[in-house]
Symmetry: D3
């Protein structure tokens, strides 16, 4: 099967990293294309960034239409453009935030979302509501470190992740951790071993779920919420 993974920000470095990670886990029969738009935001850190990356992402989604993709994955943990991509596509479209929240909900009584800074916490909470997952979300917790800081000081990063996840477990009742930002995937094993929590790397699990749904012949209904936009119908 053919799967297109779109990194909504325009960082070629992050896109290349994503490609390496996903190629290690993809199925034998999966032909993977990992790409990103030209000229949009370098990072998605606000509603403003989410909106500004939209035209570039949509351009890639629309170009994909005559290339026989079986699924498209939006690989940014705020799923910018997810609804629109489902409207304009005939194939399955998944976002890594929504997909990993649903998986997390099944793996324990409640999950916590780790995000970079405290400024992003209310935005993540609004996404929990957007995906109707209030019942399964214990909390959103900021890590309080930037990607640069994580990379610069691995020991401190590891201690910080264990501390924040541990407080989510003790104070919020979280049993599952969603890694809502890059740079943290390497510490999953320690969190699982020391805290007994299930750790979910959103991109990886979404690729596997996408393969699963393609094999099961399932894609979004085009009946209402994701029906083809009238402006595109008129063009056809």
């Amino acid at each position: 099967m053919k799967i297109l993974v779109i990194n909504p920000n325009s960082s070629k470095e992050m896109t290349a990293h994503l490609e390496r990670v996903l190629n290690q886990i993809k199925g034998d029969h999966t032909e993977l294309t990992v790409t990103c738009p030209e000229g949009g935001p370098l990072a998605i850190e606000s509603a403003y960034d989410e909106g500004m990356c939209f035209p570039g992402v949509m351009d890639l989604v629309l170009k994909a239409k005559d290339q026989n993709y079986d699924a498209i994955i939006l690989a940014c943990f705020s799923d910018p453009g997810l609804e629109a991509a489902r409207e304009v596509s005939d194939c399955l479209v998944l976002g890594i935030e929504e997909t990993s929240m649903h998986v997390a909900a099944m793996m324990g009584s409640a999950f916590t979302v780790l995000t970079m800074t405290d400024k992003r916490v209310p935005s993540k909470l609004s996404h929990v509501r957007r995906f109707k997952m209030e019942g399964a979300c214990a909390s959103v917790r900021p890590l309080g470190m930037s990607v640069a800081e994580i990379e610069a000081n691995e020991e401190r990063a590891c201690a910080q992740i264990l501390d924040v996840a541990g407080r989510a477990a003790k104070e919020d009742g979280a049993e599952v951790v969603l890694l809502g930002c890059a740079g943290m995937a390497g510490y999953a094993e320690r969190v699982e071993q020391e805290l007994g929590m299930t750790v979910i790397d959103p991109s990886s699990v979404t690729l596997k779920v996408a393969e699963a749904l393609v094999d099961a012949g399932i894609k979004q209904s085009k009946r209402g919420l994701y029906s083809v936009p009238p402006v595109l119908q008129r063009k056809e």
Copy 2:
């Protein structure tokens, strides 16, 4: 006070109509600018349209920053870009969908949203959730007529509006009607008289509420959800 009203679609005709309507109701001390972006979608009928109008809307919002506006109103009944506009602005930003839902919630036990077609119903329901108004929303009902059809046959339009609003009252328990699409404002009085329902025209009420909040010195908190996007902070 200075208020900027942005019609997110690029229809100059609709923008001119909006300007006429709002100038009739604006306060004595209000200096009103009504505008629309160049080159975006002519109508907002899908999540795709909502995303595609974003850069043009945001361009207007950013340009407004050094023009001393007291408030900005996004005048499309799906509030595209509302969160981002609040992030990038120092002044009050209101959307007509969110504002009119809050007013509607106070005017009766529950409100119904009238929208154009049944395809838009699930999208409107997701907006009810986005604004945390599930408790006050009785239903979303499609009118089943296009703007063109409404204009072409006023008698049938009036009968249809009365019929749909009446069923929302009887079957869903709605007591307030939100006019979620253009072309219907002229029939408000008949609905109020015949059905005893309160009818809300979102643009008008939002302009008045904007004036009220400016006078009261209230605008969105910049502490978290609407904090300045890092990408703009770095530019400053």
Copy 3:
């Protein structure tokens, strides 16, 4: 327009203070009457007080019927008699608790309500539910000082308000503060400056919203929840 503001408690001092504050912010065309019932409770500190002030408040509301008021405001942060006042009135009726909660919900991801003592917290929480605002309310926090104590020691009061609001922001995720008790309005600016939170003085904002809705021609639906009480219909 003519607006009647009813202070549900019978404190003439508080009524006079309210009159001064509201006259500073009222619109040019607004004719304001601020009054209170004779002989009811001097303060509203319990469900018992809320009920005991009812006949006096209702007496004022009913007498207002042939005086051409455009709106009536119940100016006590527990909105005693709001539903009944809407039933018996033909003009718009607003309560300051309900109105300011709706405004607060638009100004940030979540609001906190500051109340006098911890005994009042559960009652305020039940009001959040009464107005269907659970989704937007982060917390109710007691100030732990009486009005007398606030007035006697301004420095300590200011420190205490900053401390409680700050904890609501950090621990509960509040971005907006509703001043649910008198005596605190003077400290709003400091809270806004030091904490980046939006502070809402319920009486002031409700007066402005009342003016806005009167101008927009909006009042409560009389179809169901607020229909005229049968006992009054029979009298007519």
Copy 4:
């Protein structure tokens, strides 16, 4: 044990009827007093009526304080003054609306509330919310007959009750019927036999639950929501 039942309206006829019904079902050791206030509303049909009966009800509740009652029951299916009666009383206070909703929630997957007229439906829905029973309430359905009409035409009344309860079962999924108005108790058996629904007469079941809780030594907590009103504390 001593139980005081207060009929919040001032109809002596209805109070006498209530006394007869409750005396048939009361426990051997229960000493029952059934009373009503002087001079309040003759019927409780609106929020206005609920407020107007408050001082009379509260007068009876306060007078009961030195008469060693073990429990007080407010016997009107809108529980007017329930919160205040709990504040001012040292003994258990129950309302028939709240108590019967909790019993109903245990007897089937969801309950319907039968009320007199469609005007009262939104008010009953707000009471479902007041008692946090949204999850267990399938619907509120109006009977569409007055007490007088029920008494005048028993056959039509029975048919109507069966019809409305049957539609609540088929269309709303109700399995339990709360008789939210007087005059209908006599038809319970037919509803149970023909529809397989459990029918609950609020006054009767509340008397029995009150006896049960007195025997179990349970009454409302005085810690917060129902703490003694400061105005009464100062008097003591």
Copy 5:
């Protein structure tokens, strides 16, 4: 009336203790049988235990069918088999967890559930949801002591109970305490006196409520959720 109380675990000691406690509080006309299954789990500490006790409990419930019981009580604070027991029985069936949650909801603004260990907290929270009581539940708190430890050190147990209940009051807003595990009933009075909280012993209150509902002629509806299992219908 005849009431059958089933202790779902197979501890004869605990069953005998339960019998003593309930006989002290039962009504004069109540004929009480307290029993437990043979050979099931000795304690109910997991979903696994809840399932493993099911056949033994159901055996007792089915055997009770031709013995004219008026009510059956499942006396384990996780109500294992409650839905099934209601399906197969013609008489009233109550569970102590569900019943005491409904009583607790009426006695204060919110209740806390005390449970043995922190491992059981998420399970109790899922039961709160099962019984649709999220709105009334402030928290579930672990005691952090085993039954053996409670019995071995009464002083420490009492201090611990006061500490945990006190924190539930102060930090979670709880006003009512549900004793979700055995061994704690003896400390109820101290909690009530020192903290002003209402303490509920689930078995005792459920017996009294069962007597009340039998007297009121109320039992579960057999129309849908609790209809007779087809496998048993075919046997009849």
Copy 6:
């Protein structure tokens, strides 16, 4: 990878059918074992049946522990024993009801569950709540035909399925159909083509999701809700 699929009822015929269906869709590297308990209920049609199949299912789950399974699937659309199976297992455990609800929630604005008879509707609704999916579930609709009737009259069955799914779409806003009972899988294509709805066969999609999660290294957290039952810990 090794996956164990347990059909909780003891019908060898249904188990053999399940094995055929799942073998057609399983991954190349998946070694599949499909089995059922001896001597439990032949069909799962009530809470009683769900409980009675528990010991047999749990016996299979426990025996699987030293056979190196990577995942266990409970293949009955009421997920009996799901929580307990997760407690006692070290490997991933999925239920087809929970898993397919999460997939359905992503494929459209809301899903409907088709079930056999109207008696099962309230039970399915309680499962929607058990899995915290109220926000995504539009309705549960009974087919009103038994498996035997479906097999006996294919044409009528197809018409009935189209009719019920179509009403769920039009009246409830459903866009996705969960086939909550056997015998209907063959009609999925017609529903998709004629109604534009996404149809989900729970067993198939769960097998694929199980393979996906095993590949992604994800299984349930053993920290709290699914921690090992103390009775089994003591045995170890």
